[in-house]
Symmetry: D2
């Protein structure tokens, strides 16, 4: 539980955890436990809670804290990052303090919609850092497809130079490969820190991003063991082998990145793999038709066949 604070050295796979509900829509804390164990069994290096895909916006304040505490209490030395984005800075501050006291390693903050111009972004984060103080490590969540706020690399670099508590970029812009390279290039400037970069977008460009200097992934793909193994293979210099493995899962990676329906697909897989008791989302949510389920089944069978062909065993897909 004393996992230490998040630093620029963070790497590996921080899984974005789904939030399980019962068929009635109640928060299912027992499934939080089994899902946490499932993720641990997949070898994830850390957790990200209350992210955009975690249905955090449908939880009450109390439920949010309950989930955070429940997971932190179960993951031992793994670090937990908690999303604390909110329209009001005071709420960002309160939630951040609350989760840090509960044992979080750091917090993640996305820009609110409507920030204007490079200075608008810089000034907002300057306010956030001042409100949180120097002791809370912060992840910049760069997801303009959802926030509408484009982060120029120069602004990120100014923030890194001026605020030591900014230790990670959650990289989720699209297109984003050039930005990743640009940030890594700029870090060669004497005196600038090298921060951690974990990538999102469901992992759709994961091998390319690792080749360009990403330190791992922060996403919610329903076969997290793939994310972990690909990371391990890259870390041990086997980039091509890593990408071979990734490509086997790519049809499902791509299937899950579909907007609106993606979470329903992920929860269905987690349900089928025994990690949660119900694939239910809280209303308003998406759900799968019989056709959607048959299609998913077929894709999983194809995955298992290809894993078997590659000598990796169908267990990975189906367990």
């Amino acid at each position: 539980m004393s996992s230490g604070k998040l630093t620029e050295q963070a790497k590996g796979v921080f899984i974005i955890a789904a939030t399980p509900f019962t068929d009635d829509g109640a928060l299912d804390l027992q499934s939080v436990d089994t899902l946490t164990d499932f993720y641990l069994g997949c070898g994830v290096h850390g957790f990200t809670l209350l992210g955009m895909m975690g249905e955090a916006h449908k939880l009450t304040g109390e439920e949010s804290i309950d989930v955070v505490k429940r997971v932190i209490g179960r993951v031992g030395s793994r670090q937990v990052i908690v999303g604390v984005s909110h329209a009001g800075l005071e709420n960002v501050r309160r939630l951040a303090h609350e989760v840090m006291i509960a044992g979080a390693a750091g917090v993640m903050v996305a820009p609110p919609p409507g920030l204007k111009g490079d200075d608008g972004i810089y000034n907002y984060y300057a306010q956030v850092f001042q409100a949180l103080g120097p002791d809370i490590p912060v992840v910049y969540q760069d997801y303009p497809q959802a926030t509408g706020v484009y982060l120029p690399p120069t602004v990120f670099e100014r923030l890194v130079d001026d605020f030591k508590q900014l230790v990670m970029l959650k990289h989720e812009d699209a297109p984003g490969l050039a930005k990743l390279t640009r940030v890594r290039e700029s870090e060669k400037k004497p005196g600038r820190r090298r921060v951690s970069i974990l990538v999102g977008n469901g992992g759709l460009y994961y091998p390319q991003e690792l080749r360009r200097g990403a330190d791992g992934a922060m996403t919610g793909f329903a076969w997290p063991e793939m994310l972990v193994k690909v990371y391990d293979l890259f870390a041990s210099g086997k980039a091509e082998e890593a990408e071979d493995l990734f490509d086997i899962y790519l049809p499902l990676v791509r299937h899950e990145v579909q907007p609106a329906i993606g979470l329903a697909l992920r929860k269905e897989v987690l349900f089928r793999r025994g990690a949660i008791k119900s694939p239910k989302q809280r209303a308003p949510g998406s759900s799968l038709t019989a056709t959607d389920k048959a299609e998913l089944e077929n894709m999983i069978e194809r995955l298992e066949r290809r894993l078997a062909d590659a000598g990796r065993g169908s267990k990975m897909a189906a367990e």
Copy 2:
């Protein structure tokens, strides 16, 4: 305090209340009292709390309830509508029940961004009505400039036909005049209810809307007495006189409808009129420069002169 539930007969001015904070950004409940008294002194017929302009999104859950209870406890027989829009339906349900128990007359619900197609809107509200049950009166907040969701009149009419608890349209589309007329025309169909329509957009088209069948206003203009007097004059058949009065205030109505800076202007006026102790907004918020304040002063002086010329006394602008 037993103001009864909101019905289709609601009319007059439901002021959208600002939320006062101290210079430190703390919720200022004493100013909630003085502001409430100020609104009552202006003759408003009702209140709308936790609206988009009330900085509701910057309050904690507890603070929200505190504000609602504080106002309800002070307004006697005036009805109070509370905004309960939330990304999760369960949160809509909980907050709605909580405020109804506290004495609210009804709740207001805006569509969440991303609803697709006519049926998407209908189905969302059908879910809301089912979640809230038949006993909580609901206002449809039609503000596509903020939500991105256009409400076709035909969809509103289907909802009115199918759900008795839908009693009011908060009319804030732009352009919106034709839609207002269309809704009123469609109510002539045998068997369809005539619902209450209160208009927003800072009152920018208030006289035109009253002529087309609106029942009053639900907005936050900082001289609420104008909204009330214009309503009274219309109600007593003096439409031209009403519009004459409106036109005197129009320069300031128009000044306040500026996006982003509008709330800072309103709070500055409320502060100058002694209704609140500080014009402070919670961060992130807008604020006024010295130039902005001098400009506002000049506009207020012009308003007072024109009121004096019209024999209405500067007291109305400055008290």
Copy 3:
């Protein structure tokens, strides 16, 4: 016809001209003449053609040039600015050259949707200026409500410093008053040019903008004589008197700024004032209902009464 090129000294009212069509939707060049004469009779100082409100996007390439030549041939020494925004830079270049050869004084360019970050805007305009060369005066059209591109004052200042051909800001951001003041303040820096600023948004904040340093208006209000007289009064030091006159027209200024329906209202007024033969817009366009027309008539009668009361004669409204 030798009106000279647009410079930083441009001032007064550049009317954004409507484009008249027959009831069949054909371009009506005779009405282009009568409308041009009408604008000249109102005392406008210049013209802006092929703007967003001119239905330029519904003209063929040939029709566009026909309109430009027709107007330029009729306005004597008045300067004509032509909108040349286009998705492709090559098309911007071609159209700009064509209209400059035809006698235009300068061109107006809005940023294309999707520019990212401060540098994205700077670089786009740098490309434009390079494509057009140093001899074509350019107006930056700052209308983020339509383009989605916010212009930070610092970016505008960099462009002014680096490109002499940038001589005017068409100011149409909202809120925009603070930006106007900021640009004027920054021009006090030694060596920086003072550019012309003409304001849009239908003139809704015209007196405030003139007080803050605007040089006039570039908009399409259907009573252009008001725009001209207000400008003249300001120019002769009678700011309060100017604003008194503006306020008389404000109900109609506000009526015309309604999105979607605004152009239909303007064309209806121009039609009633005898300036064009038909209020028709090319499809897809908006049109007025009988209720809309009766409402407009009532507002015009109110305007005439107030002008008469102010000793200014109903002629101004009705001629």
Copy 4:
């Protein structure tokens, strides 16, 4: 050249053709020829010109027609669909007539941004169909990610029932699989026509879409032979084999669907494959860095290895 008009029976691969330019940005008609031949060599069944990815918006009116005529003159009996979307209906009508006279098989129309409500969409297309007359076959381009206009299946069904000239759905919504199934289900209603559905989105969900009833693809993937072979395999009942082939190309399909940079990648591949003389886009356009090119090369090498492993020969990737 007498390819006949587009009908509901259209199927196969209609390639969305890139538009080649020289390094100076001039239209390169010789490369139009070689690119057309390249596509024909890949076995495509038809062509779509002046689509969103064809940089049509950067062509002059004359250049557009030149491209259309050049391609039609070269493709023999293959059908050519031409994009004619425009802000003005009159321009839609003129361009449609011009290309039909030049030998096009049909036209494609996307909804303009800003259409409101189900009826807004229906009424716009009703206007289009009336303007074009009954003899021009029309494709509905359903691409809400670009247009902002969601097409409810019910609206599409009404249009199919009421307008015989609507013969094809260009299916590019996301998520879109459920919509495709819904449209196919609804066609079982007695009396309703079954229309052709070709899918876009770079082919990212091509096998799933074929399984759900799509008739082929209309997209611009730079290895069109894959699109054709997958179609052929499906058509001959070998769905699993088709998907096996698709999966080999999926890493590159996914790479090309990156926004903003996708066209630069496609033109680079077409350039490397000898189909065009320069990968240049007209300004403003995207381009590739050295890192981007090295990455692409690596991905192509991986593709060739996998094709070789599958006994399909590296020729397919590199020829």
